[in-house]
């Protein structure tokens, strides 16, 4: 009995605050949010709201704009994850091979991560809109003199470029950690055996780097699914709402079109997709790791 009391006491002291924060900020709002999707709450009315069954989900499924935004997001996530990790991996590879000033270089590539997405978006908005077009016009290059942000396809790539630029420094650091933890004797043995550089990379380094890949892909997946700041500050969804990623769509659905319940249903849908994708990724990568 006394032991139990002291156990409860230490739980309250050690885990109490964190449990409280977690419960009130994440768990309860999450569950309440799921509940809201079954109501017709409009966001303003103080008079409460009624139960509306699966209506909101039906609206979501029928909403063409939502699906467009959803596919756009998947495409965005795919390219961002792919390019970020490729760039980051090779940067890390180059910056662990003993180049001079490698610490300074590492620190330099990391810099974009110190600055928030809003600021980065504003900076690039100014670059795409004013600087690049200026260069294009003064050099007479048609391709550059039209702002990338004014065409749906190029605006999408502008978003990808900025995101890759933003994340690759961070992921580079994680890959560097992977490289430096790599057992030296393996590498030495390989070079003594006369393995070519290419072979060393594909046969030895990449398999050994699987744990780093898992972490980086997981992080980039998660971040790119939830991008909002850069989207808002760089394209604001434009031109004509063609680059509205899902987070922004949810936000506008709720706070602009005052469809709070539908917006929340879309958010829950987003959660299911993110959960599905990340869990699948983790499952398969763990399997891969076990085999490697």
């Amino acid at each position: 009995m006394r032991k139990r009391v002291s156990a409860i006491r230490s739980f309250i002291i050690f885990c109490g605050p964190t449990s409280l924060f977690f419960l009130t900020v994440i768990l309860i709002p999450f569950l309440f949010g799921i509940y809201l999707t079954f109501t017709n709450w409009n966001g303003i009315s103080a008079t409460g709201f009624g139960f509306s069954g699966l209506d909101n989900y039906r609206v979501v499924i029928a909403d063409k704009v939502f699906w467009k935004s959803f596919w756009l997001t998947l495409r965005f996530v795919f390219f961002t994850v792919l390019f970020t990790n490729t760039v980051a991996f090779f940067l890390a590879y180059a910056l662990t091979s003993g180049v001079r000033g490698q610490n300074t270089l590492r620190a330099g590539f990391f810099t974009p991560n110190l600055v928030g997405g809003i600021i980065l978006g504003l900076i690039w908005n100014f670059l795409f809109g004013n600087v690049f077009t200026f260069i294009g016009k003064s050099l007479g290059l048609d391709l550059l003199s039209i702002s990338m942000l004014s065409k749906p396809e190029t605006a999408f790539w502008a978003l990808v470029i900025v995101s890759v630029w933003q994340y690759s420094g961070y992921m580079m650091v994680i890959y560097i950690a992977g490289f430096t933890n790599m057992p030296n004797d393996v590498m030495e043995a390989a070079s003594i055996d006369g393995a070519t550089k290419g072979k060393r990379l594909t046969k030895i380094i990449i398999p050994l780097m699987v744990p780093s890949f898992i972490i980086c892909v997981f992080l980039t997946l998660q971040r790119s699914f939830m991008v909002y700041d850069v989207n808002l500050a760089l394209t604001n969804g434009g031109p004509f709402k063609t680059t509205q990623l899902i987070s922004m769509h949810v936000y506008e659905k709720a706070f602009l079109a005052q469809d709070f319940a539908v917006g929340q249903a879309e958010a829950v849908f987003l959660f299911l997709i993110v959960a599905l994708v990340t869990i699948t990724q983790l499952y398969f990568s763990k399997k891969l790791e076990a085999e490697a």
Binding site: G43, I44, D63, S147, K151, F240, E252, F255, L256, Q258
Partner: protein, 431 residues
């Protein structure tokens, strides 16, 4: 170790500046907030708040700007949800209707009697006045008189622009004189809320019942826009604009700032915008302040509805919150509104500082800017499309969605059929 010391000093300085920042807050006066949704006059309003606070010891007004690109309704819904409703909120007429349950009726205020005729119609609900008309605004094509005089080889008479052919002729003449015809700044609010609503106004022809019928048929999905002659005429004019747009090659990269620059410098003859743009045009003015409005013409028959008219409407209404502000705060809010209408410094703010056309007949200050004068002249001539409460029944995200569809059409990513279809589709699913 030296590094560490410098760093800790930086941190200490940061912390200290924080403390000073926090200590500067004083209480004991009635704190009220004013949500401003006219970003271009934020600085003037802040200035006005300072003057008002100095003249009224017991009250402190704080001006909260509504960020660019966000509708006032969007901001209001977050503020109400967070229990921080502003005391006074400058919103659009439709928002007043949507949020009536939150607002206090203002029937007993003195300014109700002094309000310009018609300016309270759209915010009068069941006989109660729910908001203060902040300004009268008008929009259409702003012309640079110097450019047009030169193109016409003599004095340009804006009243000759009453048909599409006349407008095109003016465009051609400007082009022939070596300038560009016009600039379209493709913001969703300009295209969606202003340009496109001219079309709704022309269908309804000033008759409230006709507007109601129009919007309910749009909502019901029984309206065939593409077959509507007014829509067709409107679109034909829009095609003309698209054709002559100086930014045709990259229509969507143009930002608002480009408009006043090109028009003021005389690089283009026309810019589609409203009288609120004067301060920005003035910065680039090369035409000796000679500017004015011509209408968005909808057909080739000068006598068709709307072809002689610019759109003028009671724009921006200030409502008083009654659900989250105390009686004392409400009284302070009322005092601020009265100050704007009846005190010399308040009137000065509206007319001289903020360049607005006041919606009150008791204010006799002369309007200094040419665009405001042009709108006032149109009102005096009766050549305006009357301000009815058409905006009140528009869904909150109409400007944003329709604006996007028009951008798409403007840049050549959609044809006329797609445009009409998208707008119809939007209406059937709108809240």
């Amino acid at each position: 170790m030296k590094k560490g010391r410098i760093l800790s000093m930086v941190l200490v300085i940061m912390m200290l500046s924080t403390l000073f920042g926090a200590a500067a807050v004083a209480e004991s006066v009635e704190q009220i907030t004013f949500l401003n949704s006219k970003g271009e006059i934020q600085a003037q309003l802040e200035e006005a708040a300072k003057v008002f606070n100095a003249e009224n010891a017991g009250i402190s007004v704080e001006i909260i700007p509504c960020p660019a690109g966000k509708s006032p309704f969007e901001v209001m819904s977050t503020m109400y949800n967070s229990g921080n409703a502003p005391t006074l909120a400058m919103v659009d007429a439709g928002d007043v209707v949507r949020l009536t349950e939150k607002f206090v009726p203002l029937n007993d205020e003195n300014w109700v009697a002094d309000a310009a005729s018609g300016s309270l119609d759209s915010v009068t609900i069941d006989g109660n006045v729910y908001a203060f008309p902040f300004a009268v605004e008008g929009f259409g094509f702003i012309y640079n008189k110097q450019v047009l005089d030169e193109a016409f080889g003599g004095a340009f008479d804006p009243s000759t622009i009453t048909t599409r052919a006349a407008l095109q002729d003016a465009f051609d003449k400007v082009v022939a004189s070596g300038k560009q015809a016009l600039i379209i700044t493709p913001m969703d609010w300009s295209l969606g809320a202003h340009m496109f609503s001219t079309m709704y106004l022309a269908i309804g022809q000033g008759d409230q019942a006709a507007y109601d019928a129009l919007f309910s048929s749009l909502r019901a999905g029984t309206m065939d826009l593409a077959a509507n002659p007014v829509f067709q005429g409107w679109l034909e004019t829009f095609d003309l604009l698209r054709e002559y747009n100086s930014a045709k090659a990259d229509a969507l990269s143009i930002t608002y700032e480009k408009g006043p620059e090109l028009l003021g410098k005389g690089d283009v003859g026309f810019w589609y915008m409203g009288n609120w743009a004067w301060p920005q045009i003035a910065e680039f003015d090369t035409a000796d302040e000679a500017y004015g409005f011509v209408p968005y013409v909808l057909s080739d028959n000068a006598d068709d509805y709307g072809n002689k008219d610019v759109v003028a409407f009671g724009s921006k209404y200030v409502a008083l919150d009654g659900s989250q502000n105390t009686e004392a705060q409400q009284a302070a809010g009322k005092a601020f509104l009265n100050w704007l209408v009846y005190e010399a410094s308040g009137q000065d703010t509206l007319v001289n500082k903020a360049n607005l056309i006041p919606a009150f007949t008791n204010i006799e200050l002369d309007i200094a800017d040419p665009l405001g004068r042009s709108i006032v002249a149109h009102i005096a001539d009766g050549t305006t499309i009357p301000a009815i409460d058409n905006f009140a029944v528009m869904p909150a995200d109409h400007w944003s969605v329709v604006g996007a569809s028009l951008q798409k059409y403007l840049a050549g990513y959609a044809d006329a059929a797609t445009l009409a279809q998208e707008i119809q589709d939007y209406w059937t699913t709108a809240k």
